[in-house]
Amino acid sequence: MLKPIKLFGLFARISILNEVQYRANFFLQVLQSSLSLGTGLIVLSVVYSYTDNLGGWSQAELLAVYGVFVLMSGLIGSLVLPNMWAFMEDVREGRLDFTLTKPEDAQVLISVRVVAIWRLVDVVLGLVVLGVAITRMGLEASWWLAFAFAATLIMGMVLLYCVLLLASILSFWFVRVWELMEMMQSIFQAGRWPVGIYPDWLRLGLTYLIPVAFAVTVPAEALTGRLTPELLAGTLLFTIVALVVTRLIWKWGLRNYSGASA
C-alpha cells in the first residue's frame, strides 16, 4: 500500500531536479496563470455587476467555486495530465514495453512518473482565491467542514484521474486519442460555474461522463455548507466504483496491447 506513495516521492524528486534547471519556465507559468486568473476574475465581476445571485450562489460563494476550479486544474495539470500524455506517447512509440517488464505494477508506474511542478503555481493561486472567498463568506471554521472539503477534493481528483486514464487507455486501440483528451480539457472549463446552472442533459454529462461536478462543484458545496452526508456517501461510492472499473478496463486493455516495437 505504501509502495505507490514511495514511488511517487521518488519520481517527484527526479521531476523537480529536472525542472529546476529551467527556471525561466517558472516565470512564464506565473505569467500565464495570472493572465487566465485575471480573465476569469474579470468575467466573474462583470456577471455579478448585473446580478447578485446565480443559480442560488452569491458572489463570494462563486469565488469559492472558481478557487476550487483553479486549484483542481493545477492539481490535475501537474500530477495527472503529464502522466497521461507520456503514457499515450509511450504506447504510440512502443516504449510501454519497457514499463511492462518492470517488477512494479504498470498502472502505478505510468500514473506517478511525471510531476509538472510549475503547474503547482495554479494550486497556490487557487488556494489564495479560496482564502479570499472564505474570508468574504465569513465562514466559521469547523472540523467537519475541513474534513468534508478535503475528502471531496481528493475524491474529485481520483475521479478525474479515472476518467482521464480511461480516455488514455483507448490509445491501445486507437492512435489518435489526443483530440479526445483536448475535448475533455475544454469541457472541464464548464467547472468554473456550479453545475446546477446548466440544463439537465449537460449537468448529467458533467456529473457522470466527465465528473466536473464531483471535482469542482461538490468540494465547493462542502465548503459553503451545502453538502449533505448522503451526497458525501454517494460520492465515496461513485469513486470506489470508478476506481474498480478503471482497474478492470486497464487490465483488459493491457491484454489487448500487442506492443508497437515487437
Binding site: S36, R176, Q189, Y198
Partner: protein, 277 residues
C-alpha cells in the same frame, strides 16, 4: 515558374492553388470525422457555458440584463458559434511548431507564398466546419429559443461582414505568428494575445455589457470586428451608421495587417535562413 507572367495567368495560378489547398483540407476533415466532431465540441463548449451563465443571470434579474433578454443572449451565442466557424484562423502557435519541426523550410522552397498555402487550407477547413455546424446550429436553435430579428439590409450585409471578420482575424494572427521568427518563447505572448481577444472581442461577454474601460480598450484593438460586430449585426442591434464604421474598421485592419506582413515577412525569412538548417 517563368519570371514574366501575365496578370490573368497569375490570377489563374493563384485560384488553382486555392482550389487544391481547399480540397486537401476538405479531404483531411472527411478522413477523421470523429476528430472533427470532437474539435467542434471544443469550439462549442465556451459559448454554451456563457449562454447558460447569462440566461441564469437574466432569470435571477427577472427578464433582462444590460439590455439583453434571455432570448437575445441565446441568439448572441448561437450566432457566435456560426461566426466562429468562419473566423477560425491559423494560430500563432502553429508558426512556432512549423519553424521548430522544419516544415516551414520545405514550404519556403515552394513557388507559392506560405500565406497562400494557409489561406487555401483555411478556406477548405472552414467549408467543412460550416457543414458540420449546420446540424448543431439547428439543435441549439430548437433548444435555446433565440430572439434574432435582423432587418432585410442587416441580413444582406451579414455575409460581407462575416467574410471581412474572417480575414481580419486571419491576417492579424498571421502577423502575430511572424514573431516566432525572433523568439522561441512565444507561448506567453500567445497567451496574452488570446486573453486580450477573450475580453475585448465579445467572445466571453457581449462588449456592451463590459465595463466602460474595457469598451474603450476594445476600440483600439481589432478583436471586436471579428466577433462582436458580425454577431450584433445579425442580432439586429447595429444601426446603418455603425455598420459603415464597422466595415471601414474591418477593411482598415485587414490592410494594416497585410502591410505589416509584407514588411516583416522579408525580414523574417532572412532571419530564418540565417538561423535555420
Amino acid at each position: 515558374m517563368p519570371r514574366v507572367q501575365g496578370f490573368a495567368q497569375r490570377v489563374r495560378t493563384n485560384l488553382q492553388v486555392y482550389a487544391v489547398g481547399a480540397r486537401v483540407a476538405i479531404l483531411e476533415r472527411l478522413q477523421y470525422p470523429l476528430a472533427s466532431l470532437m474539435f467542434m465540441v471544443n469550439v462549442l463548449i465556451e459559448p454554451i457555458i456563457y449562454l447558460v451563465v447569462w440566461s441564469s443571470a437574466t432569470v435571477a434579474q427577472g427578464g433582462a440584463v444590460g439590455g439583453y433578454t434571455a432570448g437575445q443572449f441565446a441568439g448572441y451565442y448561437i450566432i457566435w458559434t456560426f461566426v466562429r466557424q468562419f473566423n477560425l484562423a491559423v494560430g500563432p502557435d502553429n508558426f512556432n511548431w512549423r519553424i521548430k519541426n522544419g516544415t516551414l523550410a520545405g514550404e519556403l522552397l515552394r513557388p507559392v507564398h506560405p500565406i497562400d498555402i494557409d489561406l487555401a487550407w483555411n478556406l477548405g477547413f472552414k467549408v467543412m466546419q460550416v457543414v458540420y455546424w449546420i446540424p448543431i446550429g439547428v439543435i441549439l436553435w430548437l433548444m435555446f429559443k433565440p430572439e434574432v430579428n435582423p432587418e432585410a439590409w442587416q441580413l444582406l450585409a451579414f455575409p460581407i461582414v462575416l467574410l471581412l471578420a474572417a480575414y481580419v482575424r486571419f491576417f492579424v494572427m498571421w502577423l502575430v505568428g511572424l514573431m516566432c521568427f525572433w523568439t522561441e518563447r512565444i507561448d506567453s505572448l500567445i497567451e496574452l494575445y488570446f486573453a486580450a481577444e477573450l475580453l475585448f472581442s465579445g467572445r466571453l461577454v457581449p462588449l456592451e455589457i463590459m465595463p466602460a474601460w474595457a469598451q474603450n480598450v476594445a476600440g483600439y484593438l481589432p478583436f471586436q470586428w471579428t466577433f462582436y460586430f458580425p454577431i450584433e449585426l445579425l442580432l439586429g442591434r447595429v444601426t446603418i451608421n455603425e455598420f459603415g464604421i464597422g466595415v471601414f474598421a474591418q477593411v482598415a485592419w485587414i490592410l494594416a495587417a497585410y502591410v505589416g506582413i509584407r514588411l516583416i515577412w522579408v525580414r523574417a525569412v532572412r532571419r530564418f535562413t540565417a538561423v535555420g538548417a
